[in-house]
Symmetry: C2
């Protein structure tokens, strides 16, 4: 299935007009950046780069796609029939943190070949980075305890797959989503639902349900204990599985209070190794609030797949250079800084990040820093290793490098400032 | 591509356990409903029904999918290999309004064949209904003026296609998204971006850009006038296209003030028929706030595709009946009402809605009302006409039937109450 129609109509009408007056072939650079972070956020996490680059190969206009574009002239249709991206792309590796004005992606080629990628690039970066940025806050709030992404049912069915990937990239342990395992190797995890217990109504009820689950999945499984009464549920769980029971899940009520009660009960039943999984409308704040409770695993749904209040990352895709000359919009409130740019991050000797420096590619400032901009695509061919594990390691390193205030969950300013170096 | 792996792992481990103890074959009914509307919302719009039913046919476990399910036993894998949904589905037609506890979808069959559909059903209904519900508020705020959905770049690339459909279903005029036109026949509309004007830097700039666009697309096109200076932009636009220019678009600044200025300028230039399109972070509140401004078309992006503060609809999929007996969770805060249900809506003679009545299917109450629950699928085969135009008409009728308070944008209670009739 082509991804080429996941595109706004105006990209193609602009293309038609530019082909007609010859400007379509001007050498151009477009830049993906965010003028600001979501309100009160202190950092963002770059995600989507690998998905975008991997979709370039499918961004082709086949006959069926062309047939649906009856508003275009024949010269434009012919150009689209021959289209494949042959330009260069630079950008931040996935998993790097970003801040306002960070040039997370730069696309270079003719105006025509770059402009048609705008919608797809922004869809992917705005979605995936919003999820990864929210997920990283949850990972940091969880203080080393594992998190399972289980929000597939709260978002579009395909967005769910990308969301599972983005949450894993940001440090989650796994996902409930089977397609994310198949497509991206994200570990798939799972427990049980209330429906399974209810199914055994009149056939032995909760104890029968637990026995059936243990019979099928082994004593290492996770039993959901809050369908009827939690104390009875925990007792039934240990009765069904024995003290080697893997875990119990609590999905309702005051999770902090219940976790303490259930821990005490499990210990008294001789099951000190049985873990406690909690879920139910968790977000980074409630995760942090459970820090002192005997919780072993957090299951997170709605809040992570909807970006915890910031469902989109406000990235834009702006033309910044034409035939080697910077261009920029001059209208109010939406100024872009012209010219093709790169970025580096300055750190203290301790490793703590100090400043993001964005500079024209041709004049790197004399400052000691780690260059963030790397080649991703050359002449249409990917040249970067997009391994998900490496991206996960970058998130860990990035969070570890933030000044202390940067990890606060409360609303505040970006953790470090961005300095724009003029040519 | 199969949709069968767009599924939480636990659906399949529950299936494995239920197949093993024989409960998998119990006759079951699952119900999709929302315990509450998003905070402060007064109604919701059902969307997703057609997409869900159309995906049933692709919900098949092919060899490649089965190969990825290595955690399942061979009996379960064999069952999945033979799987197709052969049960019945009832529900609200798309475009109907819904309220707390409205049973918008009921799925009947064996436990096994129904439980595996949970994740996909919820993903689709939670996404599409969230978008349609937000979009309907914008349609109502726009007071008859057309709205264009242009938010593809702010959401996952496939979610964008479904969002365009949902917004159109709720009354938008069209979308920027080309795939939505191809897949669902949603009219695709478009203007131009700042990049097109910037592309003409040093080659005649804005006037050259406008001339190129008019040359390619005709004088009926929409010219974007705020790249540099709006007054100059409007002058250039009329100079390039003449007084027959279709429209100008303003994408920044105080849209109310600018719309008045631009209207006056267009009229003074002899272009009273040239329309004004406004865009830029519009939501239902800013749309309503522009009611007195000379705006002809609203372009809406981020807010509609992210549900304007409510990106998911909080639908759940609950087992309500097993072998003819009602079942319900008894744990705190999440009570479900057991038993297979249908619903009707009571209206005054004037047509104004008064009450939603949810009742056991077997005992319809003696009350005069319009039955909302219709057959959608019988023995696995769709039996309902899912035409999008009919769904649009239902939204219009539904909004027209609300009590006056129901259309208020401010936070409040559901527009009508829901009465649950006990068996």
């Amino acid at each position: 299935m082509t991804s080429a129609l996941l595109t706004d109509k105006y990209e193609l009408t602009m293309l038609a007009a530019a082909l007609r007056d010859g400007t379509a072939h001007r050498r151009s650079s477009f830049e993906v950046f965010a003028r600001r972070l979501p309100f009160g956020r202190r950092y963002g996490v770059v995600a989507g780069t690998a998905r975008f680059v991997s979709q370039l190969a499918q961004f082709r206009f086949d006959d069926a796609a062309l047939a649906s574009l009856d508003f275009l002239d024949s010269a434009t249709l012919q150009w689209l029939a021959d289209y494949e991206f042959r330009g260069d792309i630079d950008g931040y590796p996935e998993g790097e943190l970003y801040f306002p004005e960070s040039p997370v992606l730069s696309v270079h080629g003719t105006f025509a070949e770059c402009v048609v990628l705008e919608t797809l690039a922004l869809s992917i970066f705005n979605h995936d980075s919003a999820i990864a940025s929210a997920a990283a806050r949850m990972v940091s709030a969880a203080g080393g305890r594992p998190l399972i992404e289980m929000g597939s049912r709260r978002t579009h069915e395909q967005a769910a797959v990308a969301a599972a990937r983005a949450a894993y990239l940001a440090g989650f342990t796994g996902t409930s989503n089977l397609q994310a395992q198949r497509s991206y190797g994200v570990p798939a995890l799972g427990t049980s639902a209330h429906a399974f217990t209810l199914l055994h109504t009149g056939q032995g009820d909760e104890l029968a349900a637990f026995r059936a689950q243990v019979e099928a999945l082994g004593v290492g499984t996770t039993l959901l204990v809050d369908t009827y009464d939690i104390t009875q549920g925990v007792a039934n769980a240990v009765r069904a599985a024995g003290p080697e029971l893997g875990a119990v899940r609590i999905d309702s009520g005051d999770l902090g209070v219940l976790a303490h009660q259930v821990r005490t009960q499990l210990d008294s039943l001789g099951a000190p190794g049985t873990r406690i999984v909690v879920s139910g409308d968790l977000d980074e704040y409630s995760i942090a609030g459970l820090g002192a409770a005997p919780v072993d695993v957090y299951g997170v749904g709605t809040s992570v797949v909807t970006g915890s209040g910031a469902p989109t990352a406000s990235f834009v895709y702006k033309l910044v250079e034409v035939d080697g000359l910077p261009v920029a919009k001059r209208s109010s409130h939406k100024e872009s800084h012209g010219g093709r740019k790169a970025a580096l991050r300055v750190h203290k000797a301790s490793g703590t990040a100090v400043e993001e420096v964005v500079y024209p590619v041709s004049c790197r400032p004399e400052v000691d820093g780690r260059v963030l901009t790397v080649p991703l695509v050359r002449s249409g061919t990917p040249v970067f290793d997009f391994a998900l594990d490496a991206a996960r390691a970058r998130v860990t390193a990035g969070l570890g490098s933030l000044p202390w205030d940067g990890l606060k969950l409360s609303r505040g300013e970006p953790a470090i400032g961005t300095r724009l170096v003029n040519p």
